[in-house]
């Protein structure tokens, strides 16, 4: 019983990490349909932003508070720049987009290596996030993981609010559903695409700060999450924030479950999981939460 609870908490926190890593992608890939292989590098950029801020501001609490919006600003700018310079010219050409963004991903990793070296950099969490919430001998969960869970919840709410309740969200949905008609209604699709891509990238940056708090900050940080992020979005159902949540939950629990039965071998656990996902996609190609009704169209 205790063990199951502990496993459940572990799975939940893994799910929230995946959710955080994937939610930016849920916008750029899920909503806009852009395959951005450099998404992981935006996460990395966010984590390094956190590290740099800590070099300047020694107080760990304050530095995190500064790092979160700053990471958003840095990756938002990087995302906008990338959309204007590269992605914009490749809409509706997924293969070229994939190659171009993969190239950018490699380049960004190398730039990070040149600036920060190959050695892992620490992003230290403030003291009040150290330690763990101990229920009993078996069940405990570290405060960082709780904080990440809370952050994931905040993002879910924030994003649902932006997409469904604001003017920007309405224009984003109009442009993604029918860019030409949106333009005929007076909406500037170029501007909306740029902002949407920036938003997705900015959220990846914030996720980077959170992930940096428990993982080592290296130039390869992003590539550790890119595959999981795409899996999360695809399994959950493309074009849908709730789908990303469902996908992250499924993958988080699945991974922890497999690891529990096969504790010594994480590689095998990953393999089993990917096999499961391949089979799952055969039966539900549109993901867990598929769009329904006449409106879903093709």
């Amino acid at each position: 019983m205790n063990q199951a609870l502990d496993l459940g908490l572990d799975a939940l926190s893994l799910a929230s990490i995946y959710f955080l890593a994937a939610i930016g992608l849920a916008i750029t890939f899920g909503v806009m349909g852009v395959i951005n292989m450099a998404h992981g590098e935006f996460i990395m950029m966010g984590a390094y932003t956190g590290y740099v801020v800590q070099q300047v501001v020694p107080d760990y609490t304050l530095s995190i508070i500064i790092a979160l919006p700053l990471a958003f600003a840095v990756t938002f700018a990087a995302g906008v720049a990338m959309e204007r310079l590269v992605i914009r010219h490749l809409y509706h050409r997924p293969l070229e987009t994939l190659l171009a963004t993969f190239g950018i991903s490699v380049a960004l990793q190398q730039i990070a290596k040149n600036i920060f070296g190959t050695q892992a950099r620490p992003l230290t969490s403030p003291a009040w996030l150290d330690g763990a919430w101990v229920l009993n001998d078996v069940v405990s969960i570290s405060y960082i993981r709780i904080a990440i869970f809370v952050l994931a919840l905040i993002f879910l709410t924030l994003l649902l609010f932006v997409l469904n309740r604001t003017r920007l969200g309405l224009e984003v949905r109009a442009v993604t559903q029918n860019p030409r008609m949106a333009a005929s209604m007076g909406i500037n699709p170029d501007r909306i695409n740029m902002l949407t891509f920036g938003l997705g990238s900015g959220i990846a940056g914030i996720a980077g700060v959170a992930i940096g708090l428990f993982a080592k900050v290296t130039s390869e940080l992003g590539s550790d999450y890119i595959v999981q992020s795409f899996m999360t979005v695809v399994v959950g159902g493309v074009g849908n924030i709730w789908g990303t949540l469902a996908g992250a939950t499924l993958i988080g629990f699945l991974q922890k479950g497999i690891e529990f039965f096969n504790p010594s071998n994480t590689l095998a656990a990953q393999t089993y999981m990917i096999i499961f996902i391949i089979i799952f996609i055969q039966f539900r190609p549109r993901g867990i939460i598929a769009l329904k009704g006449r409106a879903a169209g093709d």
């Binding site: 003017r167 309405l170 224009e171 949905r173 109009a174 559903q177 029918n178 030409r180 008609m181 949106a182 333009a183 005929s184 209604m185 007076g186 909406i187 500037n188 699709p189 170029d190 769009l291 009704g293 006449r294 409106a295 879903a296 169209g297």
Partner: protein
Amino acid sequence: MLQTKDLTLHYSGSQILYGIDMAAERGQVTCVMGTNGVGKTSLLKALSGTHHRSGGSYTLDGEAIAKPPAHALARKGVAYVPQGRDIFPLMTVRENLETGFACLPREERFVPEQIFELFPVLKEMEGRRGGDLSGGQQQQLAIGRALIAQPKLLLLDEPTEGIQPNIIQQIGRVIEYLRDEGKMAIVLVEQYFEFAYGLADEFFVLTRGAVSLSGSKASLTKEEVMASVSV
């Protein structure tokens, strides 16, 4: 209000429109007629900015229009109801209407009651997704959506296509109402002869990308117009 001179249009290599001179006035329905493939929809695309003309001039209310992006033309008061309606399928009826707010200053961003008086069905369906509506309801939504921005030029591309007779009548009454209101020029592209003839004040008949017959309703007999669009 609207005036084009020697307007031409190409799709990459092939020329579709050959020197169209046309005009449309406020408070009038200008009907563009012709058989399939003569360039009626292309003409509306050129006027709405979704596919730019390759030559000739286009003036709107005396202002010469260069080749601005479609959203800039929309903000100048050109509203477009395309063939096939192009409703945003996953957005509710209300949200579809609200997309038109992009052309309005912040304090004018509300859906006027008038829209729901013209199309009561939109009020009933307000919370439904656009893609779940029937063809007729979508057509009404598309016209309602175009009116939100209070356009001065309304471009309608085959609003009766695939729609049941009583809805067609209703759409006809709305077009008459908008004409009599006198705030906008209406350009109607239509294949359904009786419907178009009943509404039109001015005719432009296209044949192979050029105007083959034009004139006011008084200057042309019904038989002349009929003959010009028969194959």
